[in-house]
């Protein structure tokens, strides 16, 4: 267990100084920073960003676990960005009994924003990710399609509806090949009209259980993003799978802390 911890620490240390002079905006929300939903905004054309976070997981009937999430994003065209991500973890996790270090899958993603919100039409984006089986016991290349709609809710709040379809053609027997999911997120700047550095976030999610025969898992989360530099943001969040049916594995709590920088 010592080696993976050293590895995670080294990765974190390598990323931190890079981010110090870099950027993003607290008002723009990407998945995992800190909750699970995206807003419909892509990166600016030619913008790059590094986003990473540490999470501490307390799964039901499992020991504590920890993970590192990292993502590099690049605005390769107007209203579009590509991303590459990784998510190593160690310790307990909801999906299985193994607690040893797992380098996790490497993902490649594409995000395209079709329109900003205009009139009463919400901003609309699609995101597609493929997950290469680099993780321990991973089989086959999985994918996820995510439709994202964001719209103003109240004067300053925004609602973000994410509808997911995750596919895993290499699923083992007893596992679902396709798992739909849905997240309704809410973001709102905190402190207006005197402070302009913080955005509060909340979400409710429903996703299909991974195992056949298990029911859906319902999750909730709250978090915040705070501008700490001209182009850098820290985020904190807490999520919980509050209900699941049919014995679907779930996390009691997940604590997330992250840092994003655009450059």
């Amino acid at each position: 267990m010592k080696q993976p911890l050293i590895w995670i620490t080294a990765m974190t240390a390598a990323l931190l100084p890079a981010g110090a002079a870099l950027a993003v905006d607290h008002n723009n929300v990407d998945a995992h920073r800190p909750l699970s939903f995206d807003d419909a905004e892509s990166l600016a054309y030619r913008e790059q960003a590094l986003e990473f976070g540490l999470n501490l997981v307390w799964p039901r009937n499992r020991p504590l676990g920890a993970g590192l999430e990292g993502e590099y994003l690049y605005g390769f065209a107007r209203n579009s960005h590509a991303s590459i991500g990784f998510e190593p973890s160690i310790g307990g996790r909801a999906g299985g009994a193994d607690t040893s270090f797992d380098p996790g899958n490497v993902s490649l993603g594409l995000f395209h924003n079709f329109n900003r919100q205009y009139g009463n039409t919400p901003a609309f984006s699609l995101r597609g990710d493929v997950f290469f089986p680099t993780g321990r016991h991973a089989q086959g290349t999985a994918f996820r399609l995510r439709g994202i709609a964001s719209r103003q809710a109240g004067q300053y709040g925004r609602l973000h509806l994410n509808v997911d379809l995750t596919g895993n053609p290499g699923a083992r027997s007893g596992e679902r090949e396709f798992q739909p999911g849905l997240v309704l997120g809410y973001s709102r700047p905190i402190g207006y009209p005197t402070h302009f550095q913080t955005t509060g976030l909340a979400e409710v999610s429903v996703r299909s259980g991974e195992e056949r025969g298990t029911g859906p898992v319902i999750g909730v989360g709250i978090g915040m993003r705070r501008q700490v530099g001209n182009r850098s943001v820290v985020d904190l969040g807490i999520q919980s799978d509050v209900a699941a049916s049919g014995g679907a594995p779930r996390d009691r709590l997940r604590f997330i802390a992250g840092y994003s920088a655009g450059f």
Partner: protein
Amino acid sequence: MDTLNRSLLTAAVLLALGGAQAAWAQHGTAQHGGAPPIGEAELRELPQLPDKLPSWLDNKQKNHLFYRRGKYNFDVYNLPTLARDLNAVSVGHAMAYEDLVTGKAAGLETKTFARIDHVLKYPPKFMPDEAALSPTFGRKYGVLEQVFDWTHVLHAQTVDVLASKQLSEVEKDREIERLWKFYFDSVPYAVTPLPLNMDYLYSQPYSKKFRDTYKKVNGLFWGYHWLQGAMYDMLYRASPEDQKAAYELLGDQYHKTELYRMDRHFMPMFAEVSPVFAARFPHIANAFDNLHMLHDMVNDILATPELAEKQKDEQIKLAIWMVSAEAHRSEKPGDQSADRLHDHRHFVGMPGMGMMTGMTPELMWMPAMGWMSMADCHHCTMPLWEGADWWRNPTVTADGWSMRVRCPLCARDMSAETKGRSMLRIPTEDPTRVVVVLSDEQGNLKTSTPRVVFLENEGSHAGCDEWSRAFSSRSAFDAYVTAHPNLKGAKPLSFEEWAQRQGEKPDTYVKPKGPSENPYTHQEHGK
């Protein structure tokens, strides 16, 4: 697959096909305004949209572009108070626009003003996201927001360059041109660099509505524009120490006076407050003036209750078109046209300023200053330096204005004639080294460049460009005197000696006389 999973899958497919857009479209916030269409009796005929407009004026994309990368980005924070004041400017604009489009215009002079004023007094540490502060405005006028944002990026980056401690003055000039090219070439909605006829743009049927209805908030807007112009000459070719000292003076003027001025007839023009930068980069000065005029036109449109929502949308689109580069493609500075939208004349001696109300290319008018030629020294009326020697003109900045003069003596004596604190920028023999001199309320002068050496062999002002000069060193002084035998025996003056002197009244001074006492009151009174 169980029922719930099937439902979720169906929802995913629907959303992917865009069905959610239609569903959500039913739940939008109410449209504000709702005034009946404008009547001919109430308002003069509104200008019509041209038949063929480019598609970018109707784009529905976000089209967010990243700024040009450079080691100077965010160097405005070398001057933390200026950086914060500029952050507050963004908040002020956004708050006012959001209130205008959400039915809160009635509180603009009270609640909105108080909110903005608080932010101006306690400015934010980081540049806020304007789109987050004015989401309703952005939803309604997304293309306008793109034009504003992209030109604001040019504003921010040029200031970063000027505040950089890493770039040389030559590198700064070069990078500013690159930034302009980047700005201009990256989008179809760049603002035109040509001088536009400001009188024409500010004579639309809705013009002056905001200025006359919301005097206090308009004062704030024009105060921001004053700062966004005045900071350029303050930063240009000045050392980091001088920039800091100068912003103490300029920031004080901004906070105490410029933000709360309600007696302006017209927005501050870039060349009125940064004439050196405007002469050096007229395309940028014009683009910023045109952007600020677009702000004024939009303010007026939004503040005109007689306009129905559709008319507001059309007039804002037309205003964007009027100031866009595309509307003036293949036209040149100086072009004159019967169609005043395409009148690109500028003032003689100042290519960075379009024609103004009641003025002629030869004569410009400023409050408290009266009529003047922008080609001549404002102290001795002799011609200013131009062409390759454009950089040799000193400037005097006081009480919100900035004037170019011909020589250090003219700068010093003009400063002595003005009330309050002032700032003098005095070029030396080196184009990249400007001596900044600050004057206190009593007229005492100080500089952070005490080793500067002055030549002042006073004679007729017809030759003040030769006998009044500043040098960065004694050796530069000696070399100049040696090269000019008629100055043989001239005494080098230390800064202290020079600061104590006062010249004779210039023998060449002629007060220009304009066609009216005040062109703005002349026009508004219908004379």
